[in-house]
């Protein structure tokens, strides 16, 4: 066995021992959608004992995007001489009536991009087209989009617009922490958001709400180690915010990235699916950058957004309901025909659960 295999074995042993020492049922929440995927892919829940429950949190930009944002994106895609540039994550997300994938099938112009700078390049190459870039993601992605806006300004591009749906995590965490129905004993905190914001913004979780947290990396071993650290805190009666992902998360985060967010964006109140409007949790382009703000320059004209009857994505995202409690789960709502965003891919709680749990007790050995 090599050193890596030994370390993995030791970590599994530690998770089982430390978790096994706990006398009560424990609820942890992994906040970040990429952690939800990593936990599913590594089968982490099969290592935890039944007393420990892992709940998927609202850190999935796709899942917390309300229908209104998707409706606007679809409207832009169907406008003449307009292209919607977006990360692939948004392509299949259903809005009130349609998704971008469906809009494309009806002639809508959509370009999937890997980086926001590709969208800037598209605008440069096609001065006759309006390029509307969908700004989704949290503090990890916001600085990149801010850079893209500055880049467009430098090149004097006026056909590059941002529809900002960017959100900030600590405000949402406060709402989660303050919800007594969730009864959380620990939080696995997002790794890459923390690369930008650092460790300190999470201290309030332990200090005010007495919920310990561990910032985690994304390898299976990182997540196992983070669970060990949470179990250890509980066993020792400590309550702190620690970082397992020390190799990538400086205490103060990335100052340059934080400055560029501050330069381009301002805070606003924003609706999160499942959590309602969270004050100060959204990022909107500042007035001096309003020339690149789609909502100012080219506001979408959409019908009143509507929710699909029976869809409880909101309750699932906020950890209040399990996917199986949704009447549509696995029936009308499946990965190939999603009704709500949680089912769109395995980053959403329902998409993951469909693949993970919904196989006749396969995982319950």
């Amino acid at each position: 066995m090599n050193q890596q295999e030994e370390k993995t074995k030791a970590l599994i042993y530690c998770v089982k021992c430390l978790g096994g020492r706990l006398k009560e049922n424990i609820n942890f929440m992994e906040v970040c959608g990429t952690h939800t995927v990593a936990i599913y892919r590594a089968g982490i829940k099969q290592i935890l004992c039944k007393k420990t429950r892992l709940i998927s949190g609202p850190g999935c930009p796709v899942c917390v995007t309300p229908n209104e944002f998707v409706d606007k994106a679809v409207w832009y895609a169907l406008q003449p001489k307009t292209v919607v540039a977006t990360f692939g994550d948004m392509f299949k997300v259903p809005g009130s009536e349609s998704s971008l994938a469906e809009a494309q099938a009806k002639g809508g112009q959509i370009q999937l991009v890997y980086s926001p700078l590709e969208a800037v390049g598209l605008a440069e190459k096609h001065p006759d087209l309006k390029v509307v870039f969908l700004g989704i993601g949290f503090e990890t992605t916001a600085p990149l989009v801010a850079y893209a806006v500055l880049s467009a300004r430098k090149s004097n591009l006026h056909n590059f617009l941002i529809l900002s749906g960017h959100k900030t995590v600590p405000e949402a965490l406060e709402k989660i922490a303050a919800n007594p129905l969730l009864n959380l004993h620990g939080l696995i905190l997002p790794g890459h958001v923390s690369c930008i914001i650092g460790r300190r913004p999470y201290d309030f979780l332990a200090q005010q709400y007495h919920i310990p947290g561990v910032i985690s990396g994304f390898e299976p071993e990182d997540i196992l180690e983070s669970l060990c650290m949470l179990f250890k805190q509980i066993n020792e009666g400590r309550c702190e915010v620690e970082s397992q992902y020390r190799r990538a998360v400086p205490e103060a985060g990335n100052q340059k990235a934080l400055e560029i967010i501050q330069e381009v964006f301002t805070r606003r109140d924003l609706e999160w699916r499942g959590l309602g409007v969270i004050p100060g949790s959204g990022l909107a382009l500042r007035e001096k950058y309003s020339n690149w703000d789609a909502e100012v320059v080219f506001p979408a004209r959409i019908n009143k957004p509507r929710q699909h009857r029976g869809c409880i994505c909101g309750a699932v995202i906020s950890g209040l309901k399990e996917p199986e409690e949704c009447s549509l789960f696995g029936q009308t709502c499946r990965p190939e025909h999603p009704v709500g965003p949680c089912m769109v891919s395995s980053e959403g709680a329902c998409g993951t659960h469909y693949l993970y749990q919904a196989r006749g007790g396969f995982y319950e050995d």
Binding site: T8, I12, G33, T34, Y40, R41, A42, G43, I44, Q46, I47, C60, P61, V62, F87, G88, D89, F91, K92, E97, S98, A101, E102, Q104, A105, K106, L112, V113, Y114, G137, T141, P220, E324, G330, Q331, T332, R334, P335, E336, H337, S345, E347, Y354, L355, Y356, Q357, A358, R359, G360, G361, F362, Y363
Partner: protein
């Protein structure tokens, strides 16, 4: 709560009654299209087997007959082009059912304005494969449509071959304990196409593995008693192929995470884009289900051939869970490998 696989439902709302890109990706929506639209209309004993080639009886020979259409973009990519793909693809569909290809047809649909020089290059590429393999283009057709009515060039090839295996290679031959072999690394073609199509600022040695497999697989045909079934993992990758094998069957398949053969460069693209190599298409590989006592011999034969040097065991056929494919992870846990929904999309989350 157990979720019974629901009957495939027709799209309910008006907005869903259009063909989406995902219908062509080889995953769940492709299966729905086949089950809901194709089979009900065309269905017959031969078609309904949904094998890579139709096996027909003619005098004392069994013939295999297969067709496929090629719409790949970009039309030239590292490792090949649409023409090479079109010839190799049909030769491979014949080879996996145990047929020596006799000849193929080739139909072009060309967009008005398509450069003749480009067409020439594509035809040269197709003829190169035809000469190497001895499988000639023996008939064909060309149509031209107005500018805008087609995207540059579409190619359809159909091929006919004579079955050389003594037993019929089919899913029905598969037994518990059989081993699943793959002839080489996974996902090379899809990763190369993705980089070429997206115009990413990437340099790598990534290239499509597009290649004719009749010679590689032909070396196994006289072991046909021990070879149960073969298929080339194109659209939807190995995940789609293995799920097709287990669908509605009384067995499942277990894969092992540490035995997945993936080139580092493909792993790199998957890490960057959030792809799973199991969902990525190959165009010069085959999945072979073999009797366990023939595994070493088959691997030995494959590894002697230039196209099979990296052949390895991917997994095995097991009793439970029936109808499912799962992966044993490096942590010793399990993960279901499902039929993918559509083509992999680059993600940030």
């Amino acid at each position: 709560m157990r979720i019974e696989t629901p009957p495939l439902v027709r799209a309910e709302t008006k907005t869903k009654e259009v063909i989406k890109l995902a219908h062509g990706s080889g995953g769940k929506l492709t299966r729905e299209l086949i089950e809901n639209f194709i089979k009900p209309k065309f269905g017959n004993r031969i078609l309904n087997r949904l094998e890579d080639a139709a096996v027909l009886f003619l005098s004392e020979n069994l013939l295999a007959f297969s067709t496929d259409s090629y719409v790949v973009r970009p039309i030239f990519f590292p490792g090949g082009d649409i023409g090479k793909l079109a010839v190799c693809g049909t030769i491979n569909d014949l080879a996996v059912v145990g047929a020596l290809p006799l000849g193929i047809s080739c139909s072009f649909i060309l967009e008005e304005g398509f450069p003749l020089e480009t067409l020439n290059k594509i035809i040269d590429s197709m003829q190169k494969v035809a000469s190497q393999t001895g499988c000639q283009v023996v008939t064909g057709d060309t149509k031209v449509v107005e500018k805008g009515a087609a995207d540059q060039i579409f190619i359809n090839t159909a091929g006919i071959g004579v079955i050389r295996t003594k037993s019929h290679l089919s899913i029905e031959q598969i037994q518990l304990g059989d081993q699943i072999i793959v002839t080489g690394t996974l996902g090379d073609h899809a990763a190369a196409i993705f980089v070429a199509r997206q115009n990413l600022p990437v340099t790598s040695s990534l290239a499509s593995d597009c290649a004719p497999l009749h010679s590689l697989l032909g070396s196994l045909w006289n072991l046909s008693g021990k070879i149960r079934f073969m298929r080339d993992p194109t659209r939807g990758g190995v995940a789609a192929t293995l799920n097709e094998i287990v669908k509605d069957k009384e067995f499942g398949i277990e894969l092992s995470e540490d035995s997945l053969p993936v080139k580092p460069e493909v792993r790199g693209i998957c890490d960057l884009m959030g792809f799973d190599p199991l969902n990525l298409a190959s165009e010069g590989k085959a999945v072979i289900v073999v009797a366990p006592d023939a595994t070493e011999i088959v691997l030995g034969i494959l590894q002697q051939h230039p196209l099979g040097k990296e052949a390895c065991v991917l997994g095995r056929v097991i009793e439970q869970p029936k109808g499912l494919v799962y992966l044993k992870t490096n942590l010793g846990t399990k993960r279901i490998i499902d039929l993918p929904v559509g083509d992999p999309l680059p993600r940030i989350c």
